[in-house]
Each structure stands twice: as structure tokens, then as C-alpha cells.
């Protein structure tokens, strides 16, 4: 029978077993422990997540990619300094602390020194992450897995200096010359929005410093959605534009009446600075490739994910 057991009934097998039975007893500590301890990460978990609250709550997550630009342009149009601080902000209203996975550009390079010369490479000088981010796969495939806490937090901060992937959003040329009337200056600001034509900039404010001696100003008619005012105490002239489309160019021609004309007056109009906001446009080229929410088993419900991109100005200055 080739050594295969032929009869496996207990009655037959009993005759082959010759040792004494011994009872297995559980160790006492084993019984006690489960009740008394919790895993260490329990301290970070919310105490109560009732199913009820999950029903009423919307299962949503908002991800904002914000960039603040610091640009300094010389009178010649050369960029003297360009620098941006970006961050990925999360507002998490997902129930039950699911794992979130997020993918960034695969061609992302971190550290100026490692810069490669491939086309379209996004180079970050430095970046740091929220403690909930697990960076295991970041080096290889530029993806993060996040045990996101509820509410708002900054997932990642990064910094780029030098050239950006996309061009800077605005260029401005300014000329200052003696006005046609004595004791006056003629200032001409030509502002071009360089972003793609599908996008637009909003809440643009251009700040033009004026000489101390300025008493009043007048300007040529402005386009729709534009306003301007002279602020004598601050020694500046504000030009506000509600909305400007990509590729559009607008001009401000301004006459400043001075109480006293000195040769220094012209030099006092030295640098114009800008504030703006561009939705759905990112200078550095960082993008979010994917955003997945992994729900656990029975609680799985469809979750809403919202991703926004916004560029802001931090210090955007054209020297004259």
C-alpha cells in the first residue's frame, strides 16, 4: 500500500498512539492582555467615530496646490531673482481615516545639485512633508501615501528658485518721462499677461510709487473692470484690474502733477510691484497625477475629491 494511510478512522488510529495526552492550558497573561492594552497609535485616533456621524458628513477631500511667487525684474527685463514657495494644502472631511494615495510628477527632481538636463523636468530646491505622509514610494515613483488626520493641514512645502518650468505670469514695461505740461510726469505702464489663453488672472493690483511732490494725477480712460486711485499719504498710485485673460495686454497712461519739479522726481518712480491671483495655473509645473482614497471594506462609499491649483504673488517687482 506504498505507505499511504488506508484507514483514518479514530478507532484505528488510536491503537498507534502510545503517549499520554496532556491538556493545553492558556497562559494567564495571554488572557488578560487584550482587554488592558491598545496599540500605541491608538492615542492618535479619534475616540469615537460613530457610523451615524459618517452618514451626515459629506465624504469629501479638498486638495489645493498653492504657489507664492517672488520675482524681481531689472529695468532691462532680465529676471534678477525668481523664487517660489509652494505648498499642498489638504482639507480632509473623509470619514474613518482612510489611506489616501497621491502621485506627483514622475519627473520631479529634488535638490538643485542633482539637476538633470532632461526636457520638462520639474526641479525643486527643497521640500518637506507633514508627519502623516509615508515617503516609502516617494523616491521611486513620486507617490505619497497619507494617513490623513481630519481637518486642514499642509501636506507638503516646497521651494523652487531660478528658472521655472512655465514662464513668469506677467511682464511689465514702464516709461517715465517729463509731461507735456510743466511740473508733471508722464508714466506709461504696459502690462502683459503671459499665462495660457485658457486661464486668467484676477484681483490684479499694480502699485506705482509716485514722487513726494505729487499733488494730483489724471489718467487716460481705463478699460472695463479697471479702477485706479492716487494715495498721497502712501506715496503710491494703485491700479486695480478685476480680471485679465492670458495673452492680453493692457496699458495705463498716467500724468502726475507735481508741486515742485526736481531731477530726482523721476527717480522716485523706481519700482512697481504687483499683487495677483491666477487660478488653475502653476509656475513650477508641479502637478497632482492622481489622488486615490482607499476605503476599508464595508464602509466604502464614493468620496468626492477636489483638486485646485492657484498661483499667488508674494513679492512681484519690476524695477524701473
Amino acid at each position: 500500500d506504498f505507505g499511504y494511510p488506508q484507514a483514518t478512522s479514530t478507532e484505528v488510529l488510536k491503537s498507534y498512539i502510545s503517549n499520554q495526552p496532556c491538556n493545553v492550558t492558556y497562559d494567564k497573561p495571554l488572557q488578560r492582555q487584550p482587554g488592558k492594552t491598545l496599540p500605541s497609535h491608538a492615542a492618535n485616533k479619534p475616540i469615537a467615530t460613530s457610523v451615524e456621524s459618517m452618514r451626515t458628513q459629506k465624504n469629501e477631500i479638498f486638495v489645493d496646490l498653492l504657489e507664492r511667487l517672488t520675482i524681481l525684474v531689472a529695468p532691462t527685463g532680465n529676471i534678477l531673482r525668481s523664487h517660489l514657495d509652494g505648498c499642498i494644502q489638504m482639507r480632509n472631511f473623509l470619514g474613518g481615516q482612510p489611506e489616501i494615495r497621491m502621485g506627483l510628477n514622475e519627473d520631479l527632481v529634488i535638490g538643485r545639485a542633482e539637476r538633470r538636463h532632461g526636457y520638462g523636468t520639474v526641479v525643486l530646491d527643497d521640500c518637506n512633508f507633514h508627519e502623516s505622509a509615508n515617503l516609502e514610494n516617494f523616491e521611486k515613483e513620486r507617490s505619497l501615501s497619507i494617513m490623513a488626520p481630519g481637518g486642514e493641514f499642509t501636506l507638503m512645502n516646497y521651494r523652487v528658485s531660478g528658472e521655472f518650468l512655465n514662464s513668469i505670469p506677467f511682464t511689465a514695461t514702464t516709461t517715465v518721462e517729463d509731461g507735456d505740461v510743466p511740473k508733471s510726469l508722464r508714466v506709461c505702464v504696459r502690462l502683459k499677461c503671459q499665462v495660457p489663453s485658457k486661464t486668467h488672472a484676477t484681483n490684479v493690483v499694480v502699485r506705482i510709487p509716485v514722487p513726494k511732490a505729487t499733488v494730483s494725477s489724471s489718467h487716460e480712460p481705463l478699460g472695463p473692470g479697471q479702477t485706479s486711485e492716487l494715495k498721497i499719504p502712501d506715496k503710491c498710485y494703485l491700479w486695480k484690474i478685476k480680471k485679465i485673460h492670458g495673452g492680453e495686454e493692457i496699458i495705463l497712461i498716467l500724468r502726475l502733477n507735481l508741486s515742485d519739479m526736481t531731477k530726482m522726481a523721476k527717480k522716485e518712480v523706481n519700482a512697481i510691484s504687483m499683487d495677483f491671483e491666477i487660478p488653475m495655473y502653476i509656475c513650477s509645473g508641479v502637478t497632482i497625477r492622481f489622488l486615490r482614497v482607499f476605503e476599508q471594506g464595508m464602509m466604502a462609499r464614493s468620496s468626492h475629491r477636489w483638486v485646485r491649483y492657484i498661483s499667488h504673488s508674494d513679492s512681484f517687482v519690476f524695477r524701473v
Binding site: 488592558k36 492615542a43 508627519e131 512645502n157 508674494d314
Partner: protein, 972 residues
């Protein structure tokens, strides 16, 4: 009806209602009631009358209710300590609860109740919780130990909680480790015994590093901070710690990043300077530091202050990143000023062109403070980067053309400094300066301009007219300007004596007769006398070569910098002051010497006035350890010390109470200044006045000149010259001789600008020696050591000081300084105090030490037997002092021998039988080097550890010192 009705209220108040609710059976009502009570408590209503009822609700299974009751307890236990005891039982029970949350909650709440009576009940539960199975409970308990330590430190130490905490350091859960580190750090700050316990060793460090990666951000900060306090054994260990700390630099929390930077900065010191790892580490540090600057302005400021320190220590870290310190138009002013400071520190010959272009832009901005600082920065660039000096001067001239008054004034001030650094190179721009004379209205700018005029008076044609215009308004000017004007006109007179006699006479008479400013008057007199007696000497003095200045004026001292580097990410690194300077209770570097304080006050006053505008925002005066004034003081003090004209003794005149005078006056005492006649005295008065003036204005002038004058006119003995070879032979060892005490720190490195002195006194071969060790902890070599004592109780004076000079950085030199009596006597309190001044090429330092009395016992202290008896009787009973020395394990013979080797001599010895005890009576005598006799009766018994003393002397002041000496001799 009686009036008592007013006190019994019929209306049932809210309290009664709450009370009823608390006593109800329904849980919901109870909970509601307690919520109401907590709400009342939060808004400040007193609900402590319900204490007993609330405590009754504590025994419940409901976690929410329990938490609320605990909250109430924390608030009111202090006002009702007796009732709080009621809760103890429940606490102990809760500490046994199966739910870890409740156990932790109970032990935490008990820690928060700061009532002494509770603490004794807390120990047992706490001990149990420290060994709990659940990490959450352990971590809560760890912090609780720190709380308990704050209430009752002794209890914590007695109960051995510190050892338990130490065990927790090797816990498997990172959270527990982090909290334990935090608790230990907190305890270590206040208690010295705990500090010894918190010393880390290699194995705990490894555990901390493992925990570091897994705990929360604040836990990481605690762990990193304690890592910074660890001294690695060798560079390998330092490197491995660095490797494991480096990933923390990428943390989003600025505190973690800064703490990591602190650890790395500290351990980088230990790495070999040429290793590849160090280079890569330096590269890795730059990016995170720059990233800190993209945070909010407040955090930026903190980061910048820390970066300022880091740049001073290792400028190579950020040398590539100067562009990020360019200011943005919307930065707050405090950020702008700090960035400007760092830009200057990073400026070098390669990037100076860009920096200058930036600075020029800044000087056209609107903010006046910022513009001023920018203009100053241009001047500092010129002084720092020699190759760019010409371009800087060009920029400054451009700025002067703008005619904006404050820009012009700042430019004039910095041009003065440039002239000092590069004399005779840029005087072509003086014409431009003169055009703007009228726009100068600030004293500092006017003073600077006048200094320039005086310095280059032989190249400017109309200088006498210009100075005359200034002289017309002499009485209205600030004293700073007056002093400069006086000096400038004297300079002019010395160069062109022919046509300016009128001018110099009028200014001298104005200064000496019209002015009530003592500095001005003294300077006036000294010039007048110099000019009238010896014009050639006057020329030597007034037109002397000036020491050049350098751009290290605002660097921190290396010792202070190292201390601050270890304090990165704390308030100390933001203030740029050591913690002892602003935290009460922190142990400051030991100073008991008013001399030091006085000297420091005067120097810091001098320094802070030197750059008042720069100082304006947040820069503490310490930041400017100015080179210019200290150099001047140095030479001046050196001259005064070396001046020893043979004639009647004369103290420096107190009339000219200048800024720097306190110190100089003392020096007069120190060196026993001897000067012939009133004229000389006046002269010295003048000099001290001038010293004060230079400290005060920061204007370069005459330190060197005075040096020449002093040396030339004195014919005096240079005390410090030729000291090199003739020291005593320090190699001789005296064995079994008189006791010598271990060396103590006399001058800490932080006080001594990097020079540390350890020392003690010994008596060898009939002479007193100061056995001193000099440690050079500064970055530069030190040379030209010299020493002087102030007048003291025993008239001690130092012999020649032989120190191997120059003393290289990080090296040590030992010396034996012979000390001889015969100097000037002044009684000090305490009697043995000795005030010492030590000079080297860096500065003069003052400190005081207490001499051990036994070195003052003279070798001829044995008295004749008969004389002894007569003297013993002669001294009245009131002059006898009884004392005893305990814990002496010596036989009477040994006592005698020990005392005799220390110059206490036996006159007679006899045995007496006192109540069955056999006692030895020894009559001994000793003599101080200034001939004060002390007679002693020593009682010693074999087998007894107490030695009785009876002392008799006519000078009672020495008694405490003698007793102290006997103690140290008998215990040695």
C-alpha cells in the same frame, strides 16, 4: 422678628438646583449639571461650594462624566485641599481600571492637582503607571513625574522615580521615550542631581535615535534637544548621529528643523575638517535653512537670527544662497534689517557686485530706518571687501548727490570709517562732502564730517573758514561734535600754525572756560598745555598714526558664539545673549567682582553709543563687541600701567568723571600710579578724560598718540617689558610640604574674551606663588601677558609673569607667579580678597580671588616660650575665640606635624586628664607675613575626631581666615 432673616434666603438659587441635579439618580441629569458647573467655572463664577457633591459623582463608569469631574477637580482642589483628599481613593481605584484611557486620565489629573497632601498618595499609583502595560499610560506617567518634581523635588528623588524614568528611556514605544526625554530635560533644568542622571550614554543615544523617526514632531524636538547635550566619544559616533539626524531637516515643523540644525552644528565641530562627509553635510544644511524663510514673517525673523549665528560660525554653508536674503518690498522692517545684516556677512569679492547693486536699490526706498542701514551696509562692504572699496565709495558719492538729507548724513558717517581703513586713497571725494556741509544736522554726521576736515586739513583750502562756521555755533552743539571740533582745530593748528592761531585760541578758551562739560574741559586743558610746553610732543600725540579698523566690529566673541550655537532654536539665539542673561534662576557665569562689572559697564556703554542708529531695532549692545574702542582702551591702559614716574604718590584725579573713567581710576590704584607734581596729574586726568571720550564717540583718534606721549615723556620703567625669561623655575616639586588647594576657575573664558585662567596659591620655600594655568579658547593667539594686583590687605605685589607667549589657540600654558609683600596696603573685605588685572594683546581683564590664609603664615612664626606666656596674658580675654574642627582622623602627633609643615609652630605640649580622658594640649603660634601674631591652644585626644581650638590675637579680623586655614590643613 430678628434680623437674621436677611441671611436665610428663601429663594432657591441656581446652586441649590445644581446640587439637587448632582444628587439625582439619572446619569443624564448629572452630566447636564456638571456641564453647567464647568461652564460657570470657565466664565469665572465661584462654584467651589459644590465641591463635595461633584466629587461624589466621580465614581462612575461614564468616561465623559469622569473627564468633566476631573476637570472640575483640577480647578478647585487647590482652594479645598482638605476635601480633595476625598477624591484620592477614587483616583487610586481609577489607576487600576482596565481601560488605559481612564488609568492615564487619573494619573494625569493627580499630577495636575498641586496640593501637597495629594502628592504622598500619588507616589504609589504613579509608580504602578510607570510600569504599566499600556504605552499611553506610561507616557502620561512620565510627564507626571516632571509635574511632581515641580511640587516636591525631594520626594521624587527619594522615591527613585528618576531611575524609573531612566528605565523608560529604553521603552519600545517612541511616544513614551519622547515624553520621558521631555520630563528628564525639565527636571534636569532645576535639579543638579537629576542632571547627573540624565547624562546619556551610547546605548540610550541609539534608542533615542530609533525613537526619533517615529514620534510626533514635538517629541522629536525634545529628543533632538537632548541629543545636542550629548558629547560623542569620537568622530565616528558623531558622524553616525549626524547621519541619523539629517532626515529631520526635511520636516515641515520649523522647530524640528532648527533643533536638528543645532545638533548638526554642534557635532560638525567634532568631524575632521577635511572629510567628504562634512562637505556633504554642509551642502545639506543650506536648503532647509533657506526653506525656513518661506514661512510667516515672525518665523522668518527667528530663523534669520539663528542663521545670523550660523553664518558667523560657518559662512560656507550659505555662501551660494545670498540671493534669498535680498529683501522683498513687503517684508516687515525687522526682517529687512536682519536680512541686510546677513547679506553683509555673506558678502565676498565674488558676489559683491550684485550685493552692491541691491544695496543701492535699497537706499532709494521710502523707509528711513531701512535706508540708513542700507547706506551703512555699503560702508561695511567697503571695509570688508577691499577689492570693492572703490566701487562702494563711488556708490556712496552717487547717493550723496541725491541730496536726501538722511542718506547724505549716513554716507558721511560711513565714509569716515572708510577713510580710517584706507587712509589717503579717496580724499578726492572730500570736495563732494564739503558741498553738503549745510545739510548735516545730526551730531554723529557733523562729528564725522569735522573729523574728516581735521584729518585732511592740509589738503582742503578753505578748511579754516569751514571750521570757523562750525565754531560760531559751538555752544549749541552736541558734546560729541564739540570734542571733534576741538581736536580738528588743534590738528589744523599743528599743520598750519601760521594763520590759525586765532582760531585755536578761541576754541581752547571756549572749551576750557565756557563749557561745563568735564570731558571737553579736560581735553581742552591737555591740548593747551601740550601746545604751550612742547609743540613737537603735541604733534606726536595729536597727529599720531592710528590703528586701522577691521570689519569684525560686530562679530560675537567665539566663546559666546559657541554657547549660542548650542542654544539654537531657543530664545537665547534670538536675543544673541546667553540664557543666564535673561532667565531668572539660571546660573550665570560666576562673577563676584565689582571691578569686572564696572569695567564691563563702561565698555558696553562705550560700545552701545558707538552705533546708535544700527542699534535702533533689536540689536542688543552685546552684538557689537567693538574693536575700535577696545583697541584704544587697551593701549591706554597699557600705558597707564607702565607709567611709574619716581616721585610722590598720586591718585588719578577724580574731577574728570568721564565715561570710561571708573575703570581708569581703578587702574590708577592698581598700579600704584606715581606721578611727579600737579602738572603730571593734570596730564593724566586729561588722558583719562580722553579715554572716556573715545569710548563714547567711537571716533578714532588718539589712543596711539597718547601711547607715544606717555612713553616719550615718562622715561618711566616699563613694567611689562623684558619679562620673558626671568620667571622662577616652575619645575621644582615640593613633596610632603604645605598643603595646596586644587586649582579653581579664576577667569572663565566667556569673561576673558576666550582666555581662561585656573589657579591656586601655594607657599614654597618661604615665598607665596600663584600657580596659574592659562587656556586660550579664542580663535586668535594671545601674547604680551602682564599682571597687576590692586592694593590689598597684606600689601602683596606680583613678581614677573612668565607665560609662554604667544599662546596659540586651544593651547595651555602653566606658570608659577612669585608674590612678594611690600606693595601698598588697603584693607579688603574679606581680608584675603585679591583683585587682579591681567592684560594681554586682546584686552585687560579684571577678577578677584580669595587667597587661602595658610599661605600667608610666615616661616619665622615660632615664638619664644616666655614671650608666648607674656603675650597670652597680655591679650584680653575678649580677644579669645573658641572653635573646634570635626572629622579629624589624626593622632595628636600628626596634628602637630601637619600644622608645623604649614608654619604653625609648637611652643609647648602637655597631657592633661580631663574626666578620665587623656587629652593633649598644644600651644602653638603663627605669624602672618605682615607681623600679626596669633596664639593657639590646640586640644586633641587620641581616638577623638574633634580638635578643639582656642585662638588669641590682637587683630581679630584674621580669626575667620585662620579657622578656615586650620580646617583645610587638618582635613588635607
Amino acid at each position: 422678628m430678628s434680623d437674621s432673616k436677611y441671611f436665610t434666603t428663601t429663594k432657591k438659587g441656581e446652586m441649590a438646583e445644581l446640587k439637587a441635579d448632582l444628587q439625582s439618580d439619572k446619569k443624564e441629569r448629572k452630566k447636564e449639571a456638571i456641564k453647567k458647573i464647568i461652564a460657570n467655572m470657565t466664565v469665572g463664577k465661584d462654584v467651589s461650594s459644590l465641591f463635595a457633591d461633584v466629587v461624589n459623582c466621580m465614581q462612575t463608569d461614564n468616561l465623559e462624566l469622569k473627564k468633566l469631574v476631573y476637570l472640575y477637580l483640577m480647578n478647585y482642589a487647590k482652594s479645598q485641599p482638605d476635601l480633595a483628599i476625598l477624591a484620592v481613593n477614587t483616583f487610586s481605584k481609577d489607576c487600576e481600571d482596565p481601560n488605559p484611557l481612564i488609568r492615564a486620565l487619573a494619573v494625569r489629573t493627580m499630577g495636575c492637582i498641586r496640593v501637597d497632601k495629594i502628592t504622598e498618595y500619588l507616589c504609589e499609583p504613579l509608580r504602578k503607571c510607570l510600569k504599566d502595560d499600556d504605552p499611553y499610560v506610561r507616557k502620561t506617567a512620565a510627564v507626571c513625574v516632571a509635574k511632581l518634581h515641580d511640587i516636591n523635588a525631594q520626594l521624587v528623588e527619594d522615591q527613585g522615580f528618576l531611575d524609573l524614568l531612566k528605565d523608560l528611556l529604553s521603552d519600545s514605544t517612541p511616544m513614551v521615550v519622547a515624553n520621558t526625554v521631555a520630563a528628564l530635560a525639565e527636571i534636569g533644568e532645576v535639579s543638579s542631581t537629576a542632571t547627573a542622571l540624565t547624562d546619556l550614554d551610547t546605548s540610550t543615544i541609539n534608542k533615542l535615535l530609533t525613537a526619533l523617526n517615529e514620534c510626533t514632531e514635538w517629541g522629536q524636538v525634545f529628543i533632538l534637544d537632548s541629543l545636542a547635550g550629548y558629547e560623542p566619544k569620537d568622530d565616528k559616533e558623531a558622524q553616525s548621529i549626524c547621519e541619523r539626524v539629517t532626515p529631520r531637516l526635511a520636516h515641515a515643523n520649523a522647530a524640528v528643523v532648527l533643533s536638528a540644525v543645532k545638533v548638526l552644528m554642534k557635532f560638525m565641530e567634532l568631524l575632521p575638517g577635511d572629510s567628504a562627509y562634512l562637505t556633504s553635510l554642509v551642502k545639506k544644511l543650506a536648503a532647509p535653512l533657506v526653506t525656513l524663510l518661506s514661512a510667516e514673517p515672525e518665523i522668518q525673523f527667528v530663523a534669520l537670527r539663528n542663521i545670523n549665528l550660523i553664518v558667523q560660525k560657518r559662512s560656507d554653508i550659505l555662501k551660494e544662497d545670498i540671493k534669498v536674503f535680498y529683501v522683498k518690498y513687503n517684508d516687515p522692517i525687522y526682517v529687512k534689517l536682519e536680512k541686510l545684516d546677513i547679506m553683509i556677512r555673506l558678502a565676498n569679492s565674488t558676489n559683491i557686485a550684485n550685493v552692491l547693486a541691491e544695496l543701492k536699490e535699497y537706499s532709494t526706498e521710502v523707509d528711513v530706518d531701512f535706508v540708513r542701514k542700507a547706506v551703512r551696509a555699503i560702508g561695511r562692504c567697503a571695509i570688508k571687501v577691499e577689492s570693492a572699496a572703490e566701487r562702494c565709495v563711488g556708490t556712496l558719492v552717487d547717493l550723496i548727490q541725491t541730496k536726501v538729507t538722511y542718506v547724505v548724513q549716513e554716507a558721511v558717517i560711513v565714509i569716515k570709517d572708510i577713510f580710517r581703513k584706507y587712509p589717503n586713497q579717496y580724499e578726492s571725494i572730500i570736495a563732494t562732502l564739503c558741498e553738503n556741509l549745510d545739510s548735516l544736522d545730526e551730531p554723529e554726521a557733523r562729528a564725522s564730517m569735522i573729523w574728516i576736515l581735521g584729518e585732511y586739513c592740509d589738503r582742503i583750502d578753505s578748511v579754516d573758514e569751514l571750521l570757523t562756521t562750525f565754531l560760531d555755533s559751538f555752544a549749541d552743539e552736541n558734546s560729541q561734535v564739540q570734542l571733534q571740533l576741538l581736536t580738528a582745530i588743534v590738528k589744523l593748528f599743528l599743520k598750519r600754525p601760521a594763520d590759525t592761531q586765532q582760531l585755536v585760541q578761541s576754541v581752547l578758551s571756549l572749551a576750557t572756560q565756557e563749557s561745563d562739560n568735564p570731558d571737553l574741559r579736560d581735553r581742552g586743558y591737555i591740548y593747551w598745555r601740550l601746545l604751550s610746553t612742547d609743540p613737537a610732543a603735541a604733534k606726536d600725540v595729536v597727529l599720531a598714526e592710528k590703528p586701522t579698523i577691521s570689519e569684525e566690529t560686530d562679530l560675537l566673541e567665539p566663546a559666546l558664539l559657541d554657547e549660542l550655537i548650542c542654544q539654537i532654536s531657543t530664545l537665547a539665539s534670538v536675543y544673541h545673549k546667553p540664557p543666564s542673561a535673561f532667565v531668572e534662576g539660571k546660573v550665570p557665569t560666576p562673577t563676584s567682582n565689582k571691578l569686572i562689572n564696572q569695567a564691563n559697564n563702561t565698555t558696553s556703554a562705550a560700545e552701545s553709543t558707538e552705533e546708535p542708529v544700527e542699534d535702533g531695532v533689536a540689536a542688543p549692545p552685546q552684538e557689537q563687541a567693538a574693536v575700535i574702542p577696545s583697541a584704544v582702551e587697551d593701549s591706554l591702559i597699557g600705558d597707564l600701567l607702565s607709567m611709574d614716574l619716581p616721585s610722590t604718590s598720586y591718585n588719578a584725579p577724580p574731577a574728570s568723571a568721564g565715561d570710561g573713567l571708573g575703570e581708569l581710576d581703578l587702574l590708577g590704584d592698581l598700579s600704584g600710579l606715581q606721578i611727579g607734581g600737579g602738572y603730571g596729574g593734570g596730564m593724566i586726568g586729561g588722558q583719562t578724560g580722553v579715554g572716556g571720550i573715545f569710548g563714547g564717540t567711537g571716533l578714532p583718534g588718539m589712543g596711539g598718540g597718547m601711547g607715544g606721549g606717555g612713553g616719550g615723556g615718562g622715561g618711566g620703567i616699563d613694567l611689562f617689558g623684558g619679562l620673558g625669561g626671568q620667571g622662577p623655575n616652575p619645575g621644582i616639586m615640593f613633596q610632603g610640604g604645605p598643603i595646596s588647594l586644587p586649582k579653581q576657575e579664576w577667569l572663565p573664558a566667556a569673561r576673558g574674551k576666550g582666555m581662561e585662567i585656573l589657579g591656586t596659591f601655594v607657599r614654597r620655600g618661604g615665598q607665596i606663588y600663584a600657580d596659574m594655568t592659562f587656556n586660550n579658547k579664542a580663535m586668535q593667539m594671545m601674547a604680551d601677558f602682564a599682571i597687576q594686583f590692586n592694593k590689598n590687605s597684606f600689601g602683596l605685589a606680583p613678581g614677573p609673569l612668565a607665560v609662554n607667549s604667544p599662546l596659540m589657540p586651544n593651547s595651555t600654558a602653566s606658570t608659577l607667579l612669585p608674590i612678594t609683600p611690600g606693595g601698598l596696603v588697603m584693607k579688603m573685605t574679606p581680608l584675603t580678597q585679591l583683585q587682579v588685572a591681567i592684560k594681554n594683546n586682546v584686552d585687560v581683564f579684571y577678577f578677584s580671588v580669595n587667597m587661602p590664609t595658610h599661605v600667608l603664615f610666615s616661616e619665622d612664626g615660632a615664638m619664644d616660650r616666655k614671650v608666648f606666656l607674656a603675650t597670652w596674658k597680655e591679650i584680653p580675654q575678649s580677644n579669645e575665640v573658641q572653635a573646634s574642627v570635626d572629622n579629624v582622623s589624626l593622632t595628636p602627633d600628626q596634628v602637630q606635624q601637619k600644622l608645623e609643615t604649614n608654619n604653625v609652630f609648637l611652643i609647648a605640649r602637655r597631657q592633661v586628664d580631663v574626666g578620665g580622658l587623656n587629652q593633649e594640649l598644644m600651644y602653638m603660634s603663627l605669624k602672618f607675613i605682615n607681623n600679626i601674631w596669633v596664639l593657639i591652644e590646640v586640644k586633641a585626644a587620641p581616638g577623638s575626631t574633634t580638635v578643639g581650638l582656642a585662638l588669641k590675637t590682637s587683630a581679630m579680623d584674621v580669626i575667620p581666615g585662620v579657622l578656615e586655614a586650620f580646617k583645610s590643613i587638618l582635613h588635607a
